[in-house]
């Protein structure tokens, strides 16, 4: 078992007598990208703010690299890189000066490291221009650069692809994967964009009404039904006798273990014209909606 880099233990937050976060516990492991998913108002941002020390938890604690965030703030937060929502930089300064500014707040970030990070995020050409002139995409890159400066072991990104174009999102995704794999950084990405989480993350933590309702590994194939389309239909129905089937568009959904597919196909091929066989992957979206009940913002219970 790998040691978790970050442990969130029984975190609770009460604001104005409303319990925003209820007893939330979760561990984060090196090299793993965790998606933080939840409908708007579920408490994603509040949780992230408590993990970064911006908010003080009402109860519970956050332990980063063995150090309590509340008791040993400076030592704990050293290991964390953060982008909370839009990376807000000082618009009246150049990108480079912004990075210098943040570098001065960490131990041991050299000039060489600043240049290295700039190269990593591909901002060499415009790093000396004022941030005010940057596009949102460039600001996101700069945001990533400042979060990586001090080689954190834990990277927290709140809605990081907000405002990025598809190419930018893709690049961003590759980048995160790269950092997670090569440097063993544990990454948390919060988003309400399901498809994005699905593509980017190794596992998803689903939050609703301040509670962690599920943690799931992504890509573990959950599919056990296959869509089969063939003519004539009547013949197909006969051949599928013994399996649980349901009609779907021009064919049927068949409940069948993966190993049995080749055998079934051989049988089918001699009797009917097979047009299509494909696995019915439940998308994360389906699962998400199933679990959160349509994603509506429930009244926060007292």
């Amino acid at each position: 078992m790998v040691q978790p880099i970050v442990q969130v233990k029984n975190l609770s937050k009460t604001i104005n007598n409303k319990r925003i976060i209820k007893d939330l516990s979760i561990d984060f492991f090196p090299g793993q990208i965790t998606g933080f998913l939840g409908p708007n108002g579920a408490g994603k941002t509040t949780t992230i703010r408590m993990m970064t020390g911006l908010m003080h938890p009402t109860a519970g604690e956050v332990i980063i690299d063995g150090k309590s965030l509340a008791k040993n703030y400076e030592a704990a937060i050293t290991q964390v890189g953060v982008i909370v929502e839009n990376p807000e930089m000082y618009k009246f300064m150049s990108g480079y000066k912004n990075l210098q500014h943040f570098a001065r707040m960490h131990e041991g970030v050299t000039k060489g490291r600043i240049d290295e990070v700039i190269r990593q995020v591909g901002l060499e050409k415009r790093i000396h221009e004022k941030v005010g002139t940057y596009s949102l995409g460039m600001r996101q890159r700069l945001g990533l650069a400042q979060a990586l400066l001090h080689r954190p072991k834990f990277l927290i990104l709140d809605e990081p692809t907000n405002g990025l174009d598809p190419a930018g999102i893709r690049e961003f995704r590759m980048h995160l994967r790269h950092i997670a794999q090569t440097e063993g950084v544990s990454i948390v990405v919060s988003s309400h964009l399901l498809s994005e989480i699905e593509l980017m993350c190794d596992r998803v933590a689903i939050i609703q009404n301040g509670e962690l309702i599920d943690i799931k590994e992504i890509n573990a194939s959950e599919s056990s039904t296959y869509y089969i389309e063939a003519e004539p239909k009547e013949k197909l129905m006969q051949l599928l006798d013994g399996y649980t089937i349901s009609a779907n568009e021009n064919g049927f959904n068949v409940e069948i273990p993966k190993q049995q597919i080749p055998a079934l196909l051989k049988k089918l091929a001699s009797e009917v014209e097979v047009y299509a066989v494909q696995p019915n992957n439940k998308t994360l979206e389906d699962q998400f909606l199933e679990m959160t009940g349509g994603g509506a913002i429930d009244e926060i219970s007292r």
Binding site: R49, T52, G53, L54, M55, H56, Y73, E74, A75, I77, T78, V80, V82, V84, E85, N86, P87, E88, M89, Y90, K91, F92, M93, K97, Q100, H101, F102, R104, M105, H106, E107, Q146
Partner: protein, 310 residues
């Protein structure tokens, strides 16, 4: 401290900071030109003028029924003019030191306004732009960040003072030469010649009262309410209205223990009378000091405890 360097860099990256500095310098340069221009017309026959003043004032004293404070003004003026005639000390037009003194007076007022805008904005602007999140997720305790901002504000204010003083000294020396004036003062019934520089620096250090109290107060409001306009407005309102409020409330005892009574420490300087009789420089300093501590403690506690939601 690296954090102070950070704040310093940020401060000077803003155009408004440069505007303040330039305005500050202009406020020294322009009056210098004007005063030099009008200076040429001053008369040379000072003995006659002095005699005239003495005669006029003596007439006033005889004829009018004067209250104590205005009466003493006329008496003292007569004493000083007599002293001049006896010792043959010409009254001075503008000299290097009187010019510097005038400029210091202007500068300390303007610096108070400028420094309040800086103190009010240096914390609240981080909130309004959202950069506070970037600042507070660093391995630096919050109180250090706040302290660095306070220190930077104070250094900036002192820089403005330094710039004004140096420039006024240079211009004064160029326009009026390095000859000093001979200010006379009546102290305990004796005409005394005061040392130019000690009175200059007395004024300089006494202006620190409003300098520091304005910074601390604006810093407090700016941090608590995260709004620079409120902080600027409230601080300047208080510093401009303080005289009136204090006068209105002057018959109550408690006003002695409110800091606005003592913000203007120059009232305790040589040759001035305090607004509230019976107050002394020691009391003023003590009250200011206590309030400064209260302001700072509140500011730091609020900043440390607060959840950042910007």
């Amino acid at each position: 401290m690296k954090l102070v360097v950070n704040e310093w860099v940020k401060l000077w990256s803003k155009k408004s900071t440069w505007v303040m500095l330039i305005l500050m310098l202009l406020l020294v340069i322009v009056p210098a030109g004007v005063m030099k221009y009008y200076d040429e017309s001053s008369s040379d026959n000072w003995q006659q003028n002095s005699q005239q003043v003495i005669q006029d004032f003596e007439k006033i004293i005889e004829e009018d029924d004067l209250d104590e404070s205005t009466g003493s003004y006329y008496y003292e003026t007569i004493m000083i003019e007599n002293y001049r005639l006896e010792h043959n000390i010409a009254p001075n037009g503008t000299t290097m030191d009187t010019f510097m003194r005038n400029m210091l007076e202007v500068a300390s007022m303007v610096i108070t306004i400028f420094i309040v805008t800086v103190a009010a904005g240096i914390v609240s602007s981080e909130y309004s732009t959202g950069t506070i999140k970037m600042l507070l997720t660093r391995p630096v305790a919050r109180w250090k960040i706040l302290l660095s901002k306070l220190v930077t504000t104070i250094i900036f204010g002192l820089t403005l003072y330094l710039a004004a003083i140096i420039l006024s000294a240079i211009l004064g020396a160029i326009f009026w030469g390095t000859a000093m004036s001979t200010p006379l003062e009546v102290i305990e019934g004796q005409v005394v010649q005061i040392d130019v520089w000690s009175s200059y620096f007395e004024m300089f250090f006494l202006s620190f009262g409003s300098f520091f109290m304005s910074i601390f107060f604006a810093f407090l409001i700016g941090t608590i309410f995260r709004s620079s306009s409120l902080a600027i407005g409230l601080t300047l309102f208080i510093s401009f209205m303080s005289n009136m409020v204090v006068l209105l409330l002057s018959r109550y005892e408690f006003i002695k223990y409110v800091w606005i009574t003592h913000v203007n420490l120059n009232q305790y300087g040589t040759g001035y009378t305090p607004m509230i009789p019976g107050t002394t420089l020691t009391l003023g300093l003590t009250v200011n000091f206590v309030y400064a501590i209260i302001f700072l403690v509140i500011t730091f506690i609020v900043f440390n405890k607060r959840d950042v939601t910007a």
